[in-house]
Subunit: 372 residues, 2 copies
C-alpha cells in the first residue's frame, strides 16, 4: 500500500475519524484503519459503540487528492498519525506500508516510521446500510440532539437512561431523554409512516452532530441493532441500548394552573445570581411568584442568602414557591435558544415545564427540589 495525498484533505479525514478512537476498552480501537481501493482512501475509526467511516476520493471536483496509488490496507495509531499530519508543513504527504509492522510517512524535509498492523487485526464491525430510511435536515437533527441529549444520564444505575429514545409514529419522530429528574422531548415532522422505537446512546448522537456541521441533509437508517447516519462521503454507525425505554408519556402534565413568562436572558442572570449563596453541591434556588412580584432566593449556612427581584415577567396564578436545581433550569432555557420562555406549573412539588411560546415541538420537564 502506498500513496501521495493532499495533506489538508488527509488531515480533515483523520481528524474527523480520529475523534471516536479510544484506548481504554480495546487497544486495537486506538488505531485508524486505512483502506485504499477503487480510487478512494477509506478511513475507519470506532470506540466500540460508534464507528465512523469516511472516504477521500482520489479525484473530487476535478482536484487530484491522491496520486501514485498502490492499493492496500493497514492499521496505524490514530494519535500518532494525526500528530504527524497536523505538524507537517508540505502540501503533500507520502505514505507507504513498508511491511506488516511498519509504515513510512514523508513530507518535505521530514520522515517518520511508525508502527503498523495488518488490517485483519481490526475489530469486525457491522457497517451495512440497512433499515428504515429517515431523511432529516442536518440542522434539525442538530437542534433535536442539542435540546434533548443533555437530559440523558451516564451515571444512572439504569443503563437505558444513557440513551435518547427515537420513536416514530404517525409521521412524527420524537426524541426523548430523561435522567429521572428532568426530561427533554422534541418532535420532528417526517414523511415516514413506519413505526419504530430505538434507544440511541446519547454520546453517539453528540458525536454525530459534531461531524455534520457543514452538511445539508443526513439519512438515518434505523434497524433493530444499529442506526446508520449517512451523508456525503461519510457514514456513522452506532450500536443501540437494548431494553424498553421508560414510559414517559404520562409524566408530562396536561393541565397547568400557574404561568410565568420571562425574558430568557434576565431570568438566567437572576437565577445564576440567586444561586451564589446556595449550598454549593446542590445549587438549588427558590422562585417566589405572586401577582406583580417575582423574586429568586437561595440560602445556606455556609454562603449566606440572596434576594433577586425580576424586572421583566408576566405571572398568572396564585402565590407559588418553587425550588429547583439552577443548572437544570438554566440548561433547559439555553437549549431553547429563544428570547421569551414560558414556565408552566401544576402546583407545589409537581414537575413543571419550560417551553418556547412560539415552538411547541420541544418541551423541557423538570422535577422540583424539596427544601425545608
Amino acid at each position: 500500500m502506498k500513496f501521495t495525498i493532499n495533506r489538508e484533505e488527509f488531515l480533515k479525514g483523520i481528524m474527523n475519524a480520529g475523534r471516536v478512537t479510544q484506548n481504554k476498552v480495546d487497544p486495537i480501537l486506538s488505531n485508524l484503519k486505512l483502506d485504499l481501493f477503487e480510487d478512494k482512501l477509506t478511513i475507519t475509526a470506532s470506540n466500540g459503540t460508534l464507528t465512523i467511516v469516511t472516504s477521500i476520493p482520489a479525484i473530487s471536483n476535478e482536484k487530484e487528492n491522491i496520486r501514485n496509488i498502490t492499493e492496500g490496507s493497514t492499521l496505524v495509531s490514530g494519535r500518532i498519525l494525526t500528530e504527524i499530519i497536523r505538524r507537517l508543513e508540505g502540501n503533500e504527504v507520502y505514505f507507504e506500508v513498508l511491511d506488516d509492522s511498519l509504515a513510512k510517512i514523508e513530507s518535505d524535509n521530514s520522515s517518520f516510521k511508525i508502527g503498523a498492523m495488518r488490517s485483519e487485526e481490526y475489530r469486525d464491525l457491522d457497517l451495512s446500510i440497512d433499515g428504515i430510511k429517515v431523511e432529516l435536515k442536518a440542522s434539525e437533527l442538530t437542534d433535536a440532539v442539542n435540546q434533548v441529549a443533555f437530559c440523558a444520564s451516564e451515571k444512572s444505575s439504569r443503563p437505558i437512561l444513557a440513551a435518547v429514545n427515537l420513536e416514530c409514529n404517525s409521521q412524527v419522530l420524537t426524541f426523548t431523554a430523561t435522567d429521572g429528574a428532568r426530561l427533554g422531548r422534541k418532535e420532528l415532522a417526517v414523511t415516514n409512516t413506519e413505526m419504530f422505537s430505538v434507544n440511541v446512546p446519547s454520546k453517539s448522537l453528540s458525536e454525530v452532530i459534531k461531524t455534520i456541521t457543514n452538511e445539508d441533509t443526513v439519512n438515518l437508517y434505523i434497524s433493530d441493532k444499529k442506526v446508520v447516519f449517512e451523508f456525503k462521503d461519510t457514514i456513522l454507525v452506532t450500536t443501540l441500548i437494548f431494553g424498553d425505554y421508560p414510559n414517559v408519556k404520562n409524566i408530562i402534565p396536561r393541565n397547568f394552573y400557574y404561568f410565568l413568562e420571562v425574558n430568557a436572558n434576565e431570568f438566567l442572570k437572576a437565577i445564576e445570581m440567586g444561586a451564589i449563596t446556595s449550598n454549593e453541591r446542590e445549587n438549588v434556588v427558590k422562585v417566589i411568584m405572586e401577582e406583580g412580584k417575582v423574586s429568586i432566593t437561595s440560602k445556606s449556612q455556609q454562603n449566606g442568602s440572596s434576594d433577586i427581584r425580576l424586572d421583566l415577567f408576566r405571572y398568572t396564578g396564585e402565590r407559588l414557591e418553587m425550588s429547583f436545581n439552577c443548572d437544570f433550569v438554566s440548561t433547559a432555557i439555553r437549549s431553547l435558544k429563544c428570547q421569551d420562555v414560558l414556565i408552566s406549573f401544576v402546583g407545589e412539588m409537581k414537575p413543571f415545564t419550560v417551553t418556547n411560546n412560539n415552538d411547541g415541538s420541544v418541551i423541557q420537564l423538570i422535577t422540583p427540589v424539596r427544601t425545608y
Copy 2:
C-alpha cells in the same frame, strides 16, 4: 462599616487581591480583609506566602469611587464576594456590615447577606515597607521572571529550588533559577551598590508580574525576611525561602567548541515534530549536527522513529550528537523571544547554553540526556 462604591473599581480591587487567597492550609486566608479608613478602602488577601494589599481611594482623578462612608473593617469570603460583585449589573454597590457575623450587599434589584468575621480574626502579617530599595521598570521585572522562573522546581526534595535567587553585586541584579537539570539566569543593570542575596518563591514572582501588567515602575524593598513590591495603590509582600542558594557560578561553561545558530521558529517546529515518536514520558530528541547538515530524530519502541532535517542553520564544529528533553529546550527558546537563537556546546554529555546573540543578559543552561 458601610459604604457605596463604584462596582467596577470594587471588582478590579477584589479580583486583583482575590487571586492570592487560598483555602487549603488556613481557612481564614480564603477571606478578603476590607478596611475602610481615612477616605480609602484597603483590600488585603494572602496565601500565607504572598500577601497583596491594594487600596481604592474614595476620590481619584476627581472621580468619586466611594461615598456614604462609615469607617470599619471586616472579613468576607473572597470567592463569594467576587462572584456577587462580578454578576451584579448596577453601577454602584452598597456594602454594610450588619453585625460581626453578617454583611449586606445591595445593587439595583439584588440583595445578598453573606457571612462576615471580625477583622481581628485575620492572620497577623508583617507588611512594613523596609529594606534595600531597588527601582525596576515593570517590563524589566516581567521579562526577568518570565525568562528565569520556569526553571525553578516545586517538586524537588530541595525546597530552595522552588526559589528564584535575586543577587545584587556591583550594580547588577541577577535572577537565577534551577531545578538541577536546567538553569536560567538573567542580569539587570541597577543603580544600587548594596550587596544582597535573597531566595524569592518562584510562585510569588509569577503572581507579582500578573499584577503589574499596566505599570511603569515597581519598587522592591529587600530585607532579611521578606521582599515588598510596591506600585501605585498596591503592595505585594512575599516571604523568603531560607537557606543558601546552590553555588551555580561554576556550572555555566566559559569555553564552547560547537555552535549551532538556528531560526527559533523553524527549530521549535522541528524538535516538536521530531519528538512525536519519542517515548511519551521522556520527550527526548537527538540533534545530529555536522557541517552542512543538521537533523533531529527520536525513536521509541512504542511510537516509531522520526528524521527531520533543518533548512535554516549555521553550524560550526566537528560532528556532534546531543540528546535533550524537548520541552526544556523549547521553553528556553520561547522565553528568549528572539528570531535567531545560538546554542553553544562544550562536548558530549556536557551542559549546553541557549542564548540570544543580541542580548547577553540572559542565559539558559540545559543538561543533556543520556540515550543508548
